[in-house]
Amino acid sequence: MSRKNIRLKEKVERLVILDKTGKANEALDPKLDDELSLYLYKLMVQSRVLDERMINLQRTGKMGTYAPCRGQEATACGATPAMDKDDWIAPAYREVGSFIHRGWPMESLIFFWGGYEEGCVPAKGSNHLPFAVPIATQCLHAMGISWGMKVKGESDAVLCYIGDGGTSEGDFHEALNFAGVYKLPLVMFVVNNHWAISIPREMQTASPTIAQKAVAYGFDGIQVDGNDILGCYAAVNEAANKARSGGGPTLIEAVTYRMMFHTTADDPKKYRSEDEVKKWEKLDPITRYEKYLTTRGTLSRNVQEDVKAEAVKLVAEAVERYELHREVDPVECFDFTYEEMPPELAEQREDFIRVLDEAGVKRGPRGHYLLP
């Protein structure tokens, strides 16, 4: 008879490469080359400019409710570029930089938040799923893709994004469990931005970290500073390499902060203090990375201005394309339900057209009906 602690082989670490002042830990700095270093910077700036513009589009009635990612840029802009081209990405809905990196036109995001299915059509060859609105459901799809990779003997991996709130859903845990059991090439990346609408992180789980949940599923967990883009990049890169070489899944928790409202329809004053937000403002991931790049000699004031100007231009062009192509034909909402339209649905489609005609809905130059 005995009673002693069980020793676990799984480990849980915390990784910070760039400290608050933008100073890198020499030993941990992945020392990315100038091109990649600067690229990550550009991606964050583009993400921020697009994010700001989408809030503005919502405010001016040109788009619907929007869930911004301000303050969290280092997560998606660090994690997705750390994956190889053949790896797959499963986002939630706040990963602006991930979409941009994988070649989705910026206007796709505007179309999605503007109320068009067209915004969900993946860029060709992007291996990047569209937005997943029902929380945590994408975790199982990501697990399934990695399962397929394993079954087919491919040495690729999958990166899945999920929020701190999402870690309470069964789908999240079931995905981790399967991934552990089958030793799947899955990188589960939790964007812990401290809030799930009005529910703080401490009310989602009694665990002091989310990273430690990995242990229960039989693999390693790591917590990174989510406002440290090098930390995010390095953690994902390492986990992806491990996954590709048969080492199984990793759970990464990136600790960051949702600087804005949950969505444009939300009022955070109801549930959190301005002081908390102010505290995080000082930890801005872009400013931090700017300091690092400047010290390194990779970023000058001029380049910084060019990057910003280019981002503004790209976003303006995307908005222009959005405005130009908003005239979609409502009749198309019938056309993607099945490969072959069943006769009854074809009749409903005819009836729909009759309704539009009788209501005097105008047609555009392509013969398509114009939305009100």
Partner: protein, 325 residues
């Protein structure tokens, strides 16, 4: 009497229930400090504390499964799903247990609980925030599927739902939440679950609708009146168990019927209404019954939602066709 919108009316019913019965607890995502994303639970955390108005982690299965546990334990949980589109994460609990415990235990356990959720389109929301999937629940024996249409009946039906010994799926038409106000009496009211209402009498055609579709249906009835067609309008209020008698009596009088709902047509509530009309009143019919419903497609993203939703024009056109048949 006070004028109030549906949000306030529902809030009033919840407040009354919490005040009157210590076994009533509310649970859901963001219902406490945030007072619900539509503010239906406004002020309730402050009044009743976090033991009775419970903010939960983000897990619908745990909310409904847990509410079932509380109900087994003799309490009366009123669980909120933030949107009906997210209730499917709890559907295994609904189908496997919520609908079955009474039958399984030969009446020993009764799950007197309510699952409230906003449903339906019309608010320019992203995907999964606009569906009308009442048919799933109506198809499941053992559940009561209730859908109010105005502030007053919302308050009365929610009160009845909380008092019911059997589970109630309570769909709240979010497009109606703040659309208009209505006089609501100061004294608490109940309305019988399982009973529909004739809200407008007429002799030429029966229009049968519920929830958010009551407004376009009543607007269509007005249009029809201008054209000399007297429409009788039925508000189902409870979709299941369905009040066949109210429908049959009306259709036997008018000989004509149009059924209206937002959800997809195939195997929708309208199909059940038509079946009951055929079963009870076939020989009274002067024309085939028509359905004005959502199409058999996924609810379009909101840029296209206006043209998808049945409106007064479509309803009036169908009624004219039935009358002229």
């Amino acid at each position: 009497m006070a004028q109030m919108n549906m949000v306030k009316a529902l809030n009033t019913a919840l407040d009354e229930a919490l005040r009157e019965d210590g076994d009533v607890v509310l649970m859901g995502q963001d219902i406490g400090r945030d007072e619900g994303v539509f503010r239906v639970t406004e002020g309730l955390l402050d009044t009743y504390g976090k033991n009775r108005v419970i903010d939960t982690p983000l897990a619908e299965g745990a909310i409904i499964g847990g509410a079932i546990g509380m109900a087994l334990y003799g309490m009366k949980p009123v669980a909120e799903m933030q949107f009906s589109g997210f209730a499917f994460q709890a559907f295994h609990q609904v189908e496997n247990h919520l609908s079955r415990f009474r039958n399984r235990t030969r009446g020993f356990f009764r799950l007197g609980m309510v699952m409230r959720m906003p449903y339906g389109g019309g608010i320019r929301a992203i995907e999964h925030h606009s569906e009308s999937r009442e048919a799933y629940y109506a198809h499941t024996p053992g559940l009561q599927m209730v859908i109010p249409s105005t502030p007053r009946n919302a308050r009365a039906l929610l009160r009845s739902a909380i008092r019911s010994p059997d589970p109630v799926i309570f769909f709240e038409p979010k497009a109606v939440y703040r659309a208009f106000r209505e006089e609501v009496p100061d004294e608490p009211e109940t309305m019988p679950i399982g009973k529909s209402q004739v809200v407008q009498e007429g002799s030429d055609v029966t229009l049968i609708a519920y929830g958010a579709m009551m407004r376009p249906t009543l607007a269509a009835a007005e249009k029809l009146a201008e054209d000399g067609v007297k429409a009788e309008v039925i508000d189902l209020l409870t979709v299941s168990p369905m009040d066949t008698e109210t429908i049959a009596v009306s259709v036997q009088k008018t000989g004509r019927a149009v059924v209206i709902h937002e959800g997809p047509r195939t195997c929708g509530i309208g199909a059940e209404v038509v079946a009951r009309i055929v079963e009870t009143s076939l020989l009274y019919l002067e024309a085939p019954v028509k359905r004005v419903t959502g199409y058999d497609i996924q609810f379009p993203y909101f840029a296209r939602e206006d043209v998808y939703l049945p409106d007064a024009g479509r309803i009036a056109r169908a009624a004219h066709e039935v009358v002229k048949f």
